[in-house]
Every structure is written in C-alpha cells, then in structure tokens.
Amino acid sequence: MAHELTDAFSDALRACGGSAMVVSAHGLADAVAEVVDQERVVLVTPDLLGLAESLRQKGIDARVGSSQHSLSATAVSLPSANLDEVSSIFCRAECGITGALLGISASGTVAIDTQHGNAGLLSCLPPHHVAILREGAIQKTLEGALETLAPQPGVRDCRFVLVTGPSRTSDIEMMSVLGVHGPLKLDVIIVREDA
C-alpha cells in the first residue's frame, strides 16, 4: 500500500521532468554515486555528513555545503571567512544533495527545509539537485502535506520550499525549457525502510 504512493509519486515526478529511484538504506551511497557520477564538486547539507563521507570514498569531491560545520575527518567543509571563496564554490558546484521533509504523491513534489544547512541554496544554485526522501514520508495530498509542514506556534523561523520537477520556463514562445535559474535536473532518491 505504501508502494502505491511511491509509484504515484514517481509517475507524477516523471511527468514534470524529474526522476525518482527507490533504494534500500544501505544502497543509498551507491545510488547517489551513480546519479552524480560525472559531476565535479558535490555539496551536501550537514545532516548528510555520512553520505558525503561515503561519496568521497568513492572518489567524488563531496563537501558539506555549510561554513559552520566543523571539519570532519573525511568530508571537506567550506571555509568560513572568505565570501568570494564560498560563493565561488557554490557557483562551481555541479550538484547539491539535500534531504527532503516529505513527498506528495499527487504531484510528485518534495518539501525541502530551507531553514537549515544552506539547503535552499544547495537545492537551487547547482544545475543538478538530488533529494533524499524517506519512503514513509510520502503523503498523498498537498493538504495533508501542508498540515505537517505548518509552522508550529512559538517557532520563530520556518522556511521550506515545495519542489515539483526541475526549474522551468515557457517565456519564449511558450516553449518549455528546463533549468532557468534553478536546477536543470532533479533526482529524488526514495529510501525504502526495509525490515
């Protein structure tokens, strides 16, 4: 029954130009390595530190895209003092990897927390965005999703974005073109929590 939502999600996402893939938890790093295969710099949000480390072991230049994150043994963090350097790394990055708060099967949408870990920029500046979505977090409708995402009373800052497919425009003669200001490519990796 959960798989039904997953299938609907994947179909809807495909219909708007993105792609989805279901993997098991221990297959995640391999799956990500596959979709980012050709890329040069890959930035990940701090909560995906483990993933960054696995990617580096596979020879991918994965860094944590946050200046506040302390350097770890393997994952390279961004320098914190030099704006030019930071922004140049952001602009050179070929791929941004973020988590997803939830998915919406009706429209193939993922919700990204843009409040923490620079996820807003990571999911918008590079030409390729990879979102990691827990299968159990896929909901059916927008209404249900917004109920979950609503800012809680007393919480000061709450920022998120609903992402449905890659960036697009029809501004030139109504022709649909992908990758205007945001990513040209969107991959959602759905992690199946197997028993």
Partner: protein, 730 residues
C-alpha cells in the same frame, strides 16, 4: 474629450490587430494555456474548490483590519520589519529610503505586478541604483524597454526572433543562440552573477498568512528563490488583499492557482518564508552596513481598503492574479495587454484594478474593452464576477463623467423597438440611408454595421391574435419571456418556440413584453434595469410561485434573470425576497428546457428528420452558465441529424460592442475566428443570441437560425418542409 479617447483606442486596436507577430504569438499562447488549464482541472472537483476559495477570500477581505494587526505582530516577532503603505508613493519612498540607507547598488527583482503598480524600478534608478528583473520574460521586456503584457507570461507578445534581437542589442553578445534553450542558458549565466552580488532582492508574494506571518511565493524558474535567499536584504511588496487568515487556507488556494495560471498541478517551486533567511553564504556580510540579513514586508493599500469597504467593488480583492480570465477573454486574445494601457493589470480585471489603484480616468479608457460577455467567469478560481465589476465601473464613470448619447440609445432596446416596429418598412429603409448612417457615425456607431431589421407584426401582437391551441391536459406550464429583440426583430423565433413548446405538451402564458434590462446594464445605466428587475420579479415571481417555469429564447435575458437580478437588487429590500431565488431556479434557456424535459420524460416531442446538417455556435452567456451545448443537444433530438459544434470563444458582437466605431475592427477580428470555423462546415448555422445572429449574418452572408426555428421545422412532415424563420439581415 471622449471622442479623443475613442479615437486613441481605435488606433491602438488597429495597431495591435495589424501586428501579425503579436497575433500569432497570442493565439498560440492562449490556446496552450487554455487547454492546459482544462486538463489540469480534469481530475479534481473544481466547483467545490473554487467555492471554498471564494469563501476564504471573502472572509479575509471582511476581516482585513484585524488580519493586518495580527500579521504585523507575527512579522515583528520573527525579526522582520513591517510597513503598511497607504499609497504607491509611500511604498516607493519606503523602499527607496531603505536602499539608500543600506548603500544598495544593485537590486535583483522577481516578477511582481504589485511592484509594477508602485513603479519601484523608476524610484530606485533615480537614486543611481541598478535594478535587474530576473524572471526570464520580465527581463526580456525590461531589456526591450517595454511593459509586461500578461499577468503570467509577460513577454507573450514577443517572437523568438525578436528576443534574439533584443539579446544581441542589449547583452553584449554579438551572436546569441537562436533556440529557446540557448537563449535561456545565456540568461541564466548573465543573471547568476547579479544574484550573487546584489545587495537587495525585491519580490511580491502570492499569499501572506496572518496567523504565521508566512509569505508564499509561487514560481517556476527559481529566480524568486534566489532573490529571497541570496541578497542580504529581502523586501516583499504585497497587496493588502493577499493576506489570508490561516495557514490551513493555503491548500485550497494552492490547488487552484497553478492549475488556473499555467495548467500545472503545482509550479516547480512554492516557497514558504516565515522569518528571516539564514543562508550562510552571507555570513561575512557583503557591504559593511550589512552584517545581518533583513526581511521587510511592505503591505500596499493604494485603494484596496476603500474597495474592501465598497460592497460593489469588494470582490475584485478576491482576485489571486492567475491570469486565467485573460486567456478566456476574446478582446484580450486578439489585441494583447498593451492596448489596455501601461497599467500593469490588463484585461477586464485590469480595468477594475486600474479603477481602484490608479484612477477612474484610466479605468474609463479601457472599460469599453470588456464586452461583459462573461466568458471569464467560468475560469476564475475565486469566482470574481469581472463583467459585473466592469458594469459597476461603467455606471460610476457615467455618474462621474456623464453618459454619452450613444449609451442612452443602446440602453433602450425596448424604446427603439416600440418606436420602429410600427413603422417597420420605413424604419428598416430609413436606418440604412446615408443621413441615418452619418448620424450613426457622429454618435460613434459604425455606419457599416447593420442594425437588426424591425418587423411590423410584433410577437406580442401575433400571440394576442392567434387561435389558441389546445395542448390537452398538460402538467408543465411556461411563461415565455418576450424580450425586446424577439418581440420586435425576430418574432419568428418566438412563434417557433411557442409551437415547439405546445407540441411538447406545455401550456404557455405570455406576459406583456418587458425588457430584461441587459441592454441598459451593458451601458452602465443601472437605474432603469434595476426598476425592470423589480417589475419582472413582481410579474414573473408570482407566476413562478404558481408553478410556472420561465423560458427565454435569448440567452442574455436568461443570464439577467439568473444572475444579474441578484446583483441589481443587492442593495434593495428585494434582495431577501424569496421569489428572487425561485425565479433564478425556475428560469431556463429554451434549448435547455426542451433537452431537460425530454430527458426526464416530462416533455415528449415527436420530431421527423429534416435532412439537414447543422453547425452550432454557443452563446457566451450559455457557456458561462454551463449550458453551452444545450442548443446542439436540442438539435440532436431530431432523428438522423448531423450536428457539429464550433468552439470559437465569442462572436465578437456582444450586444452593442460590435456597433461601436472604436471597437468595430476588433469585433470583426474576434468574429473571424468563428467565421473560419463556420466556413469549414457546410451545414445550416444555428445560434441563439440576436447579436451572434447579426454578427454571423453580416460577416458571413449566411442565414442563421435559432434552435426553436429548426425544431419547429422538424415538427412537421419533411415534405411541407419550408422553414419558418427569416434572417435578420437581408
């Protein structure tokens, strides 16, 4: 003064109509948007959603004062700044001061009609600040030095070739690529650098939630995300009407907005911003003054609170700027947004926005472009009655600037009929003589257009003197609504309707001819139709109470009974008269009545084949009340019949619109789409409205019949098969 205005409008229209690029671009874009919208709504309960959306907006506008207070509190608590701007000038000043104090040099902006409304670019540029639009279409328009022409697709009027030219001239790229992908990539690279170095980002917002202080931004390109995330200062300029009470209201509105605007289930990005951004890329601060990120919410009043207090204009504020009404609007589809002036909001809805935000004279200029055809009302996700708003504005303009003679003439179809019918042969010739046509021209009526012919024997006369027909024992009773045009110009339609209804076993009553009030309403003269609405309510109301149904042969009259009387009587004691609701419930279009009756078995019609094929054009008002295919279905009751429905938007005549000198070219252009479709089909033409009929007969030189005329023909054995009808034009 008015004459100069008319001539100016006429010139603008001819220029637009003579621009083949514009027309091809518009046609393509509108067709795509219209059709995408249809499929996006295919799988959800549109009517239920839009009723909810209407209720949400209605409550929000009614409570706007308290919501403002709540919102301000939320924004301040979250560390943002809040400013309520009374006027466009106030908002401009606030933003300009902020930019000056922060030492801003470069501003990136995302598409926002509200910031166009306050013309903030100009104010910033005067301070020597560079302002860069970042939405692709908007940037193209900025480079071309123009104004956007559509709410959603600002560069809808530009061809790819023109865009290549604009890039070549303005972007330091001698040979820009010639494909849409290449052009887009070029723009991505060019703007990326500006996003990174901008000191301030200005956006609008689609919704702002009072309860949580959340600003919601709907987009596809990603430029809004970058505008809100990268520059250290984010300013959102938002019309006061966009405040909604609760976060839980968003789902309904977000199900509707993208579907209506672009036919997407959701746009690529919907950003929810509560509190101040936190991207660390700016941790070090760009300019010395900017160590911290800032968020400023500028709420713009500029006439909106006054409109919220105005019961007749209030619903304008329910508009969520999706642009769907433009895509459904025949005048807009033919001339595009620029004919509506430089005001940022084009179309019929633009006239209402202009009226409250930029001035009555501006609104007056473009008010006539709305034919009040009502086609837009089906597609508006919040059920804004755009034609009604335009009618109210016309009435107020009449009060403020005076109503013209031409308006008074067109308003009184009843008087013209009463004056000309008795002397019909003379009048018909007289109205076509040179002197008559000169005086038409002086009044601003297109002398080339023929007014409908008058018939000497009116329907009422015929009815009074005919041998009454026994229908046997009947359980359905109908009052046939005798409208001015049927009575004086097309009595044959009324006669046919009587024959068909009686053949179907209906007992008929006819009350003395009463105008429905539409002709006067469409001239913005509301006092007369208000009286008629009251009279008709009294006259028809008690018959309906006795079990009669009201049947109209003219769809415009039906829409008066079903929709407009509620509006007209809104501020009168009759608003709560239960008969008003009864009348709405029990009024039918002729074809609709027959089809429903045959379907539910309460009417039976014995029809014989007529050996003809028919091509049917639905009336705008039939379509807007959801009975667009009733005429075709009625014809399909005839055995062995071939019926084809054309889907052109509108005939272009729409009451007096096509007769007006300044709109007559536009009226013809709108009609052309319909003519083309009709030409492609050889059958006899069937249309219900008198204006559709005149437009088609004049434009195509073919006769047009009302469904009643065709059905009455099928009542008889085919051998005697002469038709009963006569055309309106000779």
């Amino acid at each position: 003064m008015a004459e100069t205005g008319h001539r100016l409008m006429q010139r603008e229209i001819s220029l637009a109509l003579a621009d083949p690029t514009l027309r091809t671009a518009l046609k393509r874009a509108m067709a795509i948007l219209y059709q995408r919208r249809e499929s996006a709504f295919a799988s959800i309960d549109y009517e239920a959603l839009r009723s909810r959306a209407h209720a949400i907006k209605e409550a929000a506008i009614a409570r706007n004062a308290e919501l403002l207070v709540e919102l301000e509190q939320r924004v301040l608590t979250a560390g943002g700044h809040f400013f309520l701007a009374q006027s466009a000038e106030d908002a401009r000043q606030y933003i300009a001061n902020l930019a000056r104090n922060k030492g801003v040099q470069l501003v990136v902006k995302s598409k926002s009609m509200t910031s166009e409304e306050i013309d903030v670019n100009h104010a910033l540029e005067q301070l020597g600040i560079e302002v860069v639009e970042t939405d692709l279409g908007e940037r193209i328009i900025q480079l071309a030095g123009e104004h956007p022409s559509h709410l959603i697709v600002p560069a809808i009027h530009k061809s790819k070739e023109e865009i290549v030219q604009i890039f070549a001239e303005n972007m330091d790229v001698p040979n820009p690529p010639s494909d849409a992908e290449g052009l887009t990539l070029l723009m991505r690279r060019d703007l990326r650098q500006r996003f990174i170095t901008a000191d301030m980002g200005i956006t609008g917002a689609n919704f702002v939630v009072a309860e949580t202080g959340t600003v919601v931004l709907v987009e596809n390109e990603g430029n809004i995300r970058l505008t809100t995330e990268l520059p250290p200062v984010h300013v959102a300029v938002v019309g006061l009407e966009k405040i909604i009470p609760r976060f839980a209201d968003l789902a309904t509105l977000l199900e509707l907005l993208p579907r209506s605007a672009t036919g997407q289930l959701l746009t690529a990005y919907v950003s929810f911003i509560s509190g101040v951004a936190s991207s660390e890329i700016l941790d070090t601060g760009r300019a010395t003054q900017m160590r911290e990120r800032e968020f400023h919410l500028v709420i713009l009043d500029n006439g909106r609170r006054a409109a919220a207090r105005d019961p007749e204009l209030r619903e304008l504020l329910y508009c969520i700027r999706c642009g769907a009404c433009l895509n459904a609007c025949a005048p807009y589809r033919n001339v595009g947004g620029h004919v509506y002036g430089v005001h940022p909001y084009p179309g019929g809805i633009g006239c209402a926005w202009a009226y409250i935000t930029s001035g009555h004279a501006e609104a007056k200029q473009i008010n006539g472009l709305c034919t009040t055809c009502s086609r837009c009302t089906e597609v508006c996700p919040t059920k804004v009655d755009i034609p009604w708003l335009n009618t109210v504005i016309k009435q107020r303009n009449n009060q403020e600037f005076g109503a013209g003679f031409r308006q008074r003439v067109f308003a009184r179809a009843d008087l013209m009929g009463a004056a000309f019918s008795p002397v019909a042969p003379v009048a018909n010739v007289g109205l076509r003589t040179m002197p008559a046509r000169w005086s038409f021209a002086l009044m601003g009526i297109d002398p080339e257009k023929r007014l409908p012919r008058y018939e000497r024997e009116t329907f009422t006369n015929w009815y009074r003197h005919r041998h009454s027909v026994s229908v046997g024992q009947s359980h359905r009773r109908v009052v046939l609504f005798v409208d001015c045009f049927m009575n004086h110009n097309l009595p044959q339609v009324g006669k046919a309707a009587v024959q068909v209804l009686e053949a179907a076993g209906v007992e008929i009553a006819v009350v003395h001819n009463s105008c429905c009030g539409r002709p006067a309403m469409s001239q913005g003269l509301l006092e007369v139709p208000r009286r008629w609405a009251q009279q008709n309510l009294d006259k028809l109301g008690h018959l309906v109470e006795e079990g009669y149904d009201v049947v109209c042969v003219e769809p415009s009259c039906l829409s008066a009974l079903r929709d407009d009387y509620r509006r007209l009587l809104e501020q009168t004691p009759s608003a709560s008269d239960p008969r008003l609701h009864l009348l709405e419930e029990h009024s039918y279009d002729f074809a609709e009545y027959i089809v429903n009756g045959v379907r539910d078995g309460s009417l039976s019609l014995r029809l014989t084949p007529v050996h003809s094929a028919f091509v049917v054009h639905g009336h705008c008002h039939q379509k807007s009340i959801g009975i667009g295919s009733a005429p075709a279905e009625a014809l399909r009751l005839i055995p062995d019949v071939t019926v084809h429905e054309v889907d052109a938007l509108c005939c272009g005549m729409v009451g007096s619109f096509g007769y007006k000198q300044e709109y007559s070219d536009l009226s013809r252009a709108i009609g052309e789409e319909l003519f083309e479709q009709l030409r492609a089909h050889g059958g006899e033409i069937v249309a219900c409205g008198i204006s559709c009929r005149s437009q088609i007969e004049q434009g195509l030189g073919r006769r047009v019949f009302h469904p009643a005329e065709i059905l009455s023909r099928a009542l008889r054995p085919p051998l005697s098969g002469s038709n009963i009808g006569g055309g309106t034009a000779s």
